[in-house]
């Protein structure tokens, strides 16, 4: 399985035949995979930001700890883990199923064979623009998610008065480490490769009928999630320790 994956990647990561068509495809994929994910990322980030803030506030029972720490902890949770890993897991479901079903149905209806027949490197034509589009666009979604998540926290504080709004604002500003944003963005770039290439692999080698395409889509999402968590551990170990 791993061997086949890397053989496919060898076909994917080559220079495209026609750069003009390739760049056009990247724009199309950015729209299809990236722009269409903005709404779901916004909604999830907002609500997760609110929940993280409430939970953090409820766990801050020690009166000796300054209240602004609630904002600080919520902010760092969002920057370090939520906006990269959790969003990547969500995108693995959304983008992954899209890619696996698209390429899988092209495989079983012989559209990929038709491309190969014409002398087109189908793996490169179909998969590389998706990978590049995701690697470029998903980090922007991560940054958006960071912003919306913190905004969600600020919103819930202002509505519920669970802590003073000024304390929360102080918390999200204090001890800010810009590298945390870089860390989140780098993680999302790596996760983007995972959430595009693994479903593409399962779709590309799909066999049988529509049921099998569905099955390979499910399998691809599960595998992507496992690899996201594995690489989350590896990258955290490499970048933060």
């Amino acid at each position: 399985m791993a061997g086949r994956y890397f053989l496919l990647m060898r076909k994917v990561f080559v220079l495209p035949d026609k750069p003009r068509i390739f760049f056009k495809q990247i724009w199309v994929e950015m729209e299809k995979l990236g722009l269409s994910s903005i709404s779901i990322v916004t909604v999830i980030s907002f609500f997760m930001g609110t929940v993280i803030t409430i939970q953090t506030a409820l766990n801050f029972v020690n009166p000796l700890l300054p209240k602004f720490y609630i904002g600080l902890v919520a902010r760092d949770s969002i920057l370090l883990e939520f906006s990269s890993t959790v969003i990547a897991l969500i995108l693995a479901g959304k983008i992954g199923s899209n890619i696996a079903s698209e390429i899988g149905s092209m495989r079983i209806t012989e559209q990929i064979d038709a491309m190969e027949m014409m002398g087109v490197n189908s793996a490169n034509y179909l998969i590389l623009p998706k990978v590049i589009a995701a690697v470029i666009f998903n980090p922007l979604l991560t940054v958006l998610s960071m912003f919306i998540g913190i905004l969600g926290g600020a919103f819930i504080v202002s509505v519920t008065q669970i802590i003073m709004f000024a304390d929360f604002i102080q918390g999200i500003q204090i001890f800010f480490i810009p590298f945390y944003v870089t860390y989140g963005v780098v993680k999302m770039m790596v996760f983007s490769v995972i959430i595009t290439t693994i479903p593409a692999f399962y779709g590309y080698y799909a066999k049988g009928g529509s049921l099998d395409v569905g099955r390979s889509g499910t399998l691809s999402i599960v595998t992507s999630c496992v690899f996201i968590l594995l690489f989350n551990l590896i990258l955290t170990q490499l970048m933060l320790t």
Binding site: K18, S105, T109, D113, M117
Partner: protein, 251 residues
């Protein structure tokens, strides 16, 4: 001319094609016929390199295809047009974009030239006013004709068709057969058609190769197929009630 010499193909332990040799002539409609599962599609896909053969040789004129490097195969494949069983039109593209696809990839034509060529090919297969429709919005017969237009867009020297009539009504089937034959004669293409449709066999079978259980069982043309005393071929040709009735009337 395409020639296959002693071609065998196995999938694991299962031998699908065994020692098949045949010559497919230029300017003729060459038919590969046989029951479902006899190995017709595997042979056709082996001829274009979508399956690697286990043994034997495949020749396009004086070029041995099966041993070519990927780059050279790719070059040769640009001279081959293929019509797949399910049409295999790209879902993401409209009718005209499907026909323009090979032109966009392999030629340096301007956009207007590509549109002109695509329109010419679509007109040739009698598709009019459907340029902006998607494959899912047109009928099966139209899909086949668009697939033929795409296959001939690059002026191929070889045209391979995998069951072009499958899923079509008898009238549309005849239209597709006639179209393929006209194109073959007009452009002097080497055409190979996989079919198990006896209407096609009797209508356009300039040369016929009968495959039975992965072996070449019989070779001839539409004029002599009905007189053959080959048992397996007769079982295939006269399988339908109508053909049996006609045979009885003739006797």
């Amino acid at each position: 001319m395409i020639e296959v010499k002693n071609v065998s193909k196995s999938f694991g332990q299962k031998e699908v094609l065994r020692d098949i040799s045949a010559v497919f002539d230029k300017g003729k409609t060459n038919l590969i016929i046989g029951q479902s599962g006899s190995g017709k599609t595997v042979l056709l896909k082996s001829i274009v390199g979508l399956h690697d053969i286990t043994e034997g040789e495949i020749w396009y004129e004086n070029t041995r295809f099966d041993t070519l490097y990927f780059r050279d195969k790719k070059k040769l494949r640009q001279k081959i047009g293929m019509l797949f069983q399910g049409s295999a039109l790209f879902d993401f593209a409209t009718v005209i974009q499907n026909v323009m696809f090979p032109l966009e990839i392999f030629t340096n034509m301007t956009k207007n030239e590509r549109i002109d060529r695509a329109n010419f090919c679509l007109k040739r297969v009698n598709i009019i006013n459907a340029n902006d429709m998607y494959p899912s919005e047109i009928s099966g017969g139209m899909q086949k004709r668009v697939a033929i237009a795409r296959a001939i867009a690059l002026n191929p020297e070889y045209l391979l068709c995998d069951e072009p009539n499958s899923g079509l009504d008898p009238i549309t089937s005849i239209l597709i057969d006639d179209l393929i034959r006209e194109i073959t004669y007009e452009y002097q293409i080497t055409t190979i058609i996989n079919t198990h449709d006896m209407n096609s066999v009797m209508g356009i079978g300039d040369k016929i190769v009968f495959i039975y259980e992965g072996r070449k069982w019989w070779e001839g043309n539409k004029d002599i197929i009905l007189q053959s005393d080959n048992k397996e071929l007769n079982d295939f040709v006269f399988a339908s009630k109508m053909a049996q009735t006609l045979k009885a009337i003739n006797k």
